[in-house]
C-alpha cells in the first residue's frame, strides 16, 4: 500500500450542525473536473447512508472556449436524511471556480447560502472571458450570501509542491482541493475518495499523491479557516432495509437488460450508434462480454436497428439504443419490427429537440414520436422509467412484454434520468421472476404457420436452425396465419387491427395505475418519466399544506393502465406537467375526452419542485 491511504483520514474538531438535507452545486469550466468531484460527493454521501439525487449539467461541446459562460459545467447533488426525489431546487452551497460559473449559477443559490469562490480566477482576463466588466465579488450584489473567498490556486500549488509537478498539472488538482473543502463543510469522510484516487491514478503515483494532498489540504482549510465556525452534517436516511449501491440511469438500464437476458435464458445483443445521451448504455454493455453480451457499434442508426432485428430473428434478446434524432432515422426499421412481430427493445434516451437540438439537455418531447412517429398504423408498447434506479425494473418489464407479445417495445428514458444517480437497493437475483420464452422445436403436429397466434396474439418465435420450420418474413403485408405476402384488402385491415389489439392487450398484464394522495378530490397531477421526483415532492408538499391534490405517475404510456379512465374521473381538475408543449396532455384528451390543464417547460432543464407546487396552488386557487 502506498502512503496515500496509509495516512489516516483527518477528523474534525469543529462543531457540525445537524441539517435534514443539503443541496450543493459545483460549477466551473468544463475542463475543471466538476463532474468528477460531484460524482465523488454523491457516492460518499450515499455511502454515509443519505438518500441522494443528482443533476449533472454540461455543455455539448467537449471543450467549449475556456472561461466562457458557454463552457460552464455544473454538478448538483442533494443529500438528505429523508427520502428525496429530486436534486433540489435552490442551493445551500455553491462552489464556483471562475466568474462565468458564478454569473450563470448564482441565481439558484438561496439567500444566506454559502458561496465558495476561487478568488484567484477573478482577474481582468477571467472577467472578460465571462463578458463581465466589473468583478461581481467587489460590489454588493453578493451581500445576501455568505461569500467564502479562497485562494485555491495558490493553496493547491503549495499543497502539491513536493510532487514537483508542472504548474499546469498542479492546477489540475484544484478540483480536489475544492472537494476537500466541501467534504469538510458537510462532515464527509475522505476515505472513499482517497480509495478512488488510488484506483484511478494508481498508475501515476505523482498525480495520485498530488490529488490526495490537494483533497486533504482543502479539508484542512475548512478545519482551520476562521470563515467557518462550524460545518453541517446530514444523518443517514431511513431507507428500506437492505444493501444499497449508487446507480446512474443508463447504468441501471444496462444492468436491467443483462438481468432480463439471464432471466430469460438469452444472450444479449446490442446494435447501437454513438449518440448523446445514450452512448453510456453502449459503453456499459460493452464491458459485459463475459455475460455473453455482444455489442455491435454499427455504421449508422439504421444499421444499428437492422442488426438488432437480424439478431432477434436468430433468437437473441436484441436491442438498440439511441436518442431522438437517431430514433427518427430508425423509424422505418421500427415499422419492420412491428410487421415482423419479433421481440426487441428500442431505447430512446430523450434530449432537447427538434433536429440536433440540445444534445446534453433533458426534455420529454419524443412521446408523440414514440406513439406515432412511423409510417402506417404502427403501434408498440411504450414504457418510461421515472428515476435512475427505476430503469432497472423497466428494462426487465420491457423484455417481459416484448417476449410475451412478440413485438418491439420502446423505452423512453431521458437525459436527466440517464445521467442522474440515486441509491438502489440491490435485489437478490434469485428473487427476480424468470421470463419464460419458448421456441417451437419443429416437432409440433400439423403445418407450421409462422403467423398463427396464441392467447396473447403472439406468433411463434421459430428460429433458424430449427428443422421443418423454414419460413420467410418481410415488410410486405402478411397473410394472417401463413405469413405469406398478401395484398388482400380484408386481410390488411385484419392485420392492422391485430397488431393494435396485441398492444392493447398488454394492458391486461401490467399493474393497475396507482395514485398518491386522496382517491378523489380537487386536483390530480398526471406525470410521466423524469418529472416524477419534482411532481411527487410538489404534491406531497401541497398536501401537507392541506390542499386536495393527488398524483398519478405513468410508467406505461402505451397502452395506458385500464383503470386510468376511472381515476381521471375522480378529480375536478387534471394538471399535466411536462417538459414539452403538452404531449401526454393531448394523448389523455384524445383518448379519454377529458379536459386537461398543462404546465410546460422546454428549457432543457428539469422542473423545480417550486414550479410544480406553484402551478398546483394556482390551479386550485382558480377553482375557488
Amino acid at each position: 500500500m502506498s502512503s496515500i491511504t496509509s495516512e489516516p483520514a483527518p477528523s474534525s474538531q469543529k462543531n457540525h450542525e445537524l441539517v435534514e438535507s443539503a443541496t450543493v452545486r459545483l460549477a466551473g469550466d468544463s475542463g475543471d473536473g466538476m463532474q468528477l468531484i460531484g460524482t465523488q460527493l454523491t457516492n460518499t454521501s450515499a455511502l454515509a447512508g443519505n438518500d441522494v439525487a443528482t443533476f449533472p449539467d454540461f455543455p455539448a461541446e467537449i471543450r467549449a472556449p475556456r472561461g466562457t459562460r458557454a463552457g460552464v459545467s455544473g454538478f448538483q447533488v442533494q443529500f438528505a436524511a429523508e427520502d428525496i426525489f429530486t436534486p433540489g431546487d435552490t442551493l445551500d452551497t455553491l462552489v464556483v471556480m471562475n466568474p462565468a460559473a458564478l454569473v450563470t449559477n448564482i441565481a439558484d443559490l438561496r439567500k444566506g447560502g454559502i458561496l465558495i469562490v476561487n478568488e484567484e480566477s477573478f482577474t481582468k482576463k477571467d472577467l472578460k472571458l465571462a463578458d463581465l466588466t466589473e468583478n461581481p465579488l467587489d460590489d454588493d450584489s453578493m451581500n445576501s450570501y455568505r461569500v467564502i473567498k479562497v485562494p485555491m490556486t495558490k493553496l493547491t500549488r503549495q499543497s502539491v509542491e513536493e510532487q514537483g509537478l508542472s504548474v499546469k498539472m498542479a492546477d489540475r488538482c484544484r478540483n480536489f482541493f475544492a472537494m476537500g473543502l466541501v467534504f469538510w463543510l458537510y462532515g464527509r469522510e475522505l476515505e472513499p475518495t482517497l480509495r478512488f484516487i488510488e484506483t484511478k491514478f494508481g498508475k501515476k503515483p505523482d498525480i495520485a499523491a498530488a490529488n490526495s494532498k490537494a483533497l486533504r489540504s482543502g479539508w484542512y482549510y475548512g478545519e482551520t479557516t476562521e470563515a467557518f465556525i462550524s460545518g453541517y452534517k446530514v444523518d443517514p436516511a431511513k431507507l428500506a432495509p437492505g444493501r444499497y449501491t449508487n446507480v446512474m440511469g443508463n447504468q441501471a438500464l444496462a444492468w436491467g437488460l443483462i438481468t432480463a437476458a439471464a432471466k430469460s435464458g438469452k444472450s444479449l445483443f446490442l446494435g447501437s450508434y454513438p449518440i448523446t445521451p445514450a452512448s453510456d448504455i453502449l459503453h456499459e454493455l460493452s464491458k459485459f462480454k463475459n455475460f455473453g453480451v455482444r455489442t455491435f457499434q454499427a455504421e449508422d442508426e439504421m444499421a444499428a436497428i437492422c442488426s438488432t432485428i437480424g439478431a432477434a430473428f436468430g433468437g437473441a434478446m436484441a436491442l438498440t439504443t439511441s436518442s431522438g434524432p437517431g430514433i427518427a432515422l430508425k423509424g422505418e426499421a421500427m415499422g419492420l419490427g412491428v410487421m415482423l412481430e419479433l421481440p426487441m427493445i428500442i431505447v430512446n434516451v430523450q434530449r432537447g429537440g427538434p433536429s440536433t437540438g440540445l444534445p446534453t439537455k433533458t426534455e420529454q418531447s419524443d412521446l408523440l414520436q414514440a406513439m406515432f412517429g412511423r409510417n402506417g398504423e404502427c403501434p408498440m408498447p411504450i414504457l418510461a422509467p421515472r428515476s435512475p434506479s427505476h430503469c432497472f425494473e423497466v428494462a426487465l418489464e420491457a423484455w417481459r412484454i416484448a417476449a410475451k407479445f412478440m413485438c418491439p417495445v420502446l423505452i423512453l428514458s431521458d437525459g436527466y434520468i440517464a445521467n442522474g444517480a440515486e441509491p438502489w437497493r440491490i435485489p437478490d437475483v434469485d428473487d427476480l421472476p424468470e421470463i419464460p420464452i419458448q421456441h417451437p422445436t419443429g416437432h409440433e403436429e400439423g403445418e407450421f404457420l409462422p403467423y398463427s397466434r396464441d392467447e396473447n396474439l403472439a406468433r411463434p418465435w421459430a428460429i433458424p436452425g430449427t428443422p421443418n420450420l423454414m419460413h420467410r418474413i418481410g415488410g410486405l403485408e402478411k397473410q394472417q396465419g401463413t405469413g405469406n405476402v398478401s395484398y388482400d384488402p380484408e386481410n390488411h385491415e385484419c392485420m392492422i387491427k391485430l397488431r393494435q389489439e396485441k398492444v392493447d392487450r398488454v394492458a391486461s398484464v401490467i399493474p393497475p395505475q396507482s395514485v398518491d394522495g386522496p382517491e378523489s378530490g380537487d386536483l390530480l397531477v398526471v406525470s410521466w418519466g423524469g418529472t416524477y421526483g419534482a411532481c411527487t415532492t410538489a404534491t406531497e408538499r401541497c398536501r401537507s399544506e392541506g390542499l386536495s391534490v393527488a398524483h398519478a405517475h405513468l410508467v406505461h404510456l402505451s397502452p395506458f393502465p385500464t383503470n386510468l379512465a376511472d381515476i381521471l374521473k375522480n378529480y375536478k381538475r387534471i394538471l399535466v406537467p411536462e417538459l414539452n408543449l403538452g404531449q401526454l396532455s393531448s394523448l389523455l384528451r384524445s383518448k379519454y375526452m377529458v379536459e386537461t390543464h398543462q404546465l410546460n417547460k422546454v428549457q432543457g432543464k428539469p422542473f423545480a419542485v417550486d414550479e410544480v407546487a406553484a402551478a398546483i396552488r394556482s390551479e386550485l386557487a382558480s377553482m375557488r
Binding site: G242, E299, F313, G465, R472, G474
Partner: protein, 338 residues
C-alpha cells in the same frame, strides 16, 4: 461422429410461392443456379438464411425454402451482420441489386465488406431500377435516357467490384446470369469462402434495360468482350485465344499474342494476392477498351467480424469467469441499511 445428412435436391429448396418476376427476367436463372448449388453444399436447409432488401431481386428469399427476411431497402447487410454475429452456425446470404446495394444501401454494403462478416452477398446488376419502373440506377452509364433522365444521365456510374475491392472484401467475383455453369461455380465458391463473399452478377432486365449485357453474353461477341479469370493462369481472351492482357507499368494493355509476345509476358492472375491492387486494376478493365473479367478477382483469408466478436466473448469469459449478476451489483461501493 458422422451424421447422416439427407440428400437434398433442387425441389427441396423450392417454396410454394409463385415466382413473380417478369417472364424472361435474368433473375430466374440466378434462382435456378442457387437451387442447384445449395443441395451440393451439405448444409441443411434450416441452417440457411436469405436476407434481401427491396427491389426486384429482393423477392428472392420468398422463393427459397430456407429461412429468410425480405427486409428494408438497402439494409440487408446490416440485418445479416446482426444475425451472423449472434448465430455463427448459420449460412447467411444477402441478395441485393444495384439500386438497393449501391444507392440507398451503399453504406451498409461497404461496412459489411470492410468488417469481413462471414456472409455471401450476391448483387444482381441490371443497371436500372426495375421495381419502380425504369429510372436510372447508380450503375447506369453516363447519358442513359430513362424516365427520370429524359436528357440523359449526368451521374458518373459506380462500379460494384471496384467498391468491393476498395473495401478490401476478402472474396470478390463476377458472373453472368445466363452463363449458368460459370454462375454455379462462382456461387459455390462464394458459399465456401469464409468472410464476406461479394458476387456481382450481370443480370438482364428485359423490361426496362433489355440487352444491356448482350455484349458479354452473345456468342458472337462474348469471347472478345470478356476474359475469364483463372488463378495462376495468364489473361488470354478472344475468339482465337490470341489476345492477352499485359501489364505496362501500372497500366494494363491489350496485346496480340505472337509477334514476339508470348504467354509469359502476360499478366498472370493471382486471386490470393494479399494486396488488393491487382484485383482493383482488373475491376477497372471495362468495355470498350478492355475485355471485362469474369470469375474470381480476389479470394483471401482475413479475420472475420463474427468470429472475432465471439472470440472476445469467450476470452472475457475465460479471463473474468462467466458473468455473475449478484457480484456485478455489489461490485461498486455498497452500504447496508438496517
Amino acid at each position: 461422429m458422422t451424421t447422416e445428412l439427407p440428400v437434398l435436391t433442387t425441389a427441396d429448396f423450392t417454396t410454394n410461392q409463385d415466382v413473380r418476376w417478369c417472364p424472361g427476367c435474368g433473375d430466374y436463372s440466378i434462382l435456378a443456379q442457387m437451387k442447384k448449388v445449395l443441395p451440393q453444399l451439405g448444409v441443411p436447409r434450416e441452417k440457411i438464411v436469405f436476407i434481401s432488401g427491396i427491389g426486384c431481386s429482393s423477392r428472392f428469399p420468398y422463393y427459397m425454402n430456407t429461412y429468410g427476411i425480405h427486409s428494408i431497402h438497402g439494409r440487408a447487410p446490416a440485418f445479416a451482420t446482426g444475425l451472423k454475429s449472434t448465430r455463427p452456425d448459420l449460412q447467411v446470404w444477402v441478395i441485393t441489386g444495384d439500386g438497393d446495394g449501391l444507392s440507398i444501401g451503399g453504406n451498409h454494403l461497404m461496412h459489411c465488406m470492410r468488417r469481413n462478416v462471414d456472409v455471401n452477398i450476391v448483387l444482381f446488376n441490371n443497371r436500372i431500377y426495375g421495381l419502380t419502373k425504369g429510372q436510372y440506377s447508380p450503375t447506369s452509364e453516363l447519358g442513359k435516357v430513362t424516365k427520370s433522365t429524359p436528357m440523359g444521365s449526368i451521374d458518373n456510374p459506380i462500379h460494384p467490384l471496384s467498391i468491393a475491392i476498395g473495401c478490401e472484401a476478402s472474396f470478390v467475383a463476377r458472373s453472368i446470369d445466363t452463363n449458368i455453369k460459370h454462375l454455379g461455380t462462382i456461387l459455390r465458391r462464394a458459399a465456401e469462402h469464409r468472410g464476406t463473399a461479394f458476387v456481382e452478377v450481370y443480370q438482364n432486365c428485359n423490361i426496362f434495360n433489355d440487352k444491356v449485357w448482350d455484349y458479354a453474353k452473345a456468342r458472337e461477341t462474348k469471347l472478345d468482350t470478356t476474359v475469364e479469370l483463372e488463378h495462376g493462369k495468364p489473361l488470354i481472351f478472344g475468339k482465337n485465344r490470341d489476345m492477352g492482357i499485359r501489364l505496362n507499368g501500372l497500366e494494363p494493355e491489350v496485346v496480340e499474342l505472337g509477334k514476339g509476345i508470348t504467354e509469359d509476358d502476360l499478366l498472370f492472375h493471382d486471386e490470393q494476392a494479399s494486396e488488393p491492387s491487382l484485383a482493383y486494376l482488373l475491376s477497372r478493365m471495362r468495355q470498350p477498351d478492355f475485355p471485362e473479367p469474369i470469375g474470381v478477382f480476389r479470394a483471401v483469408d482475413a479475420p472475420k467480424y463474427d468470429e472475432l466478436l465471439n472470440a472476445q466473448v469467450e476470452e472475457a469469459k475465460k479471463a473474468k469467469g462467466a458473468g455473475d449478476l449478484q457480484s456485478l451489483f455489489n461490485s461498486g461501493d455498497t452500504w447496508e441499511v438496517k
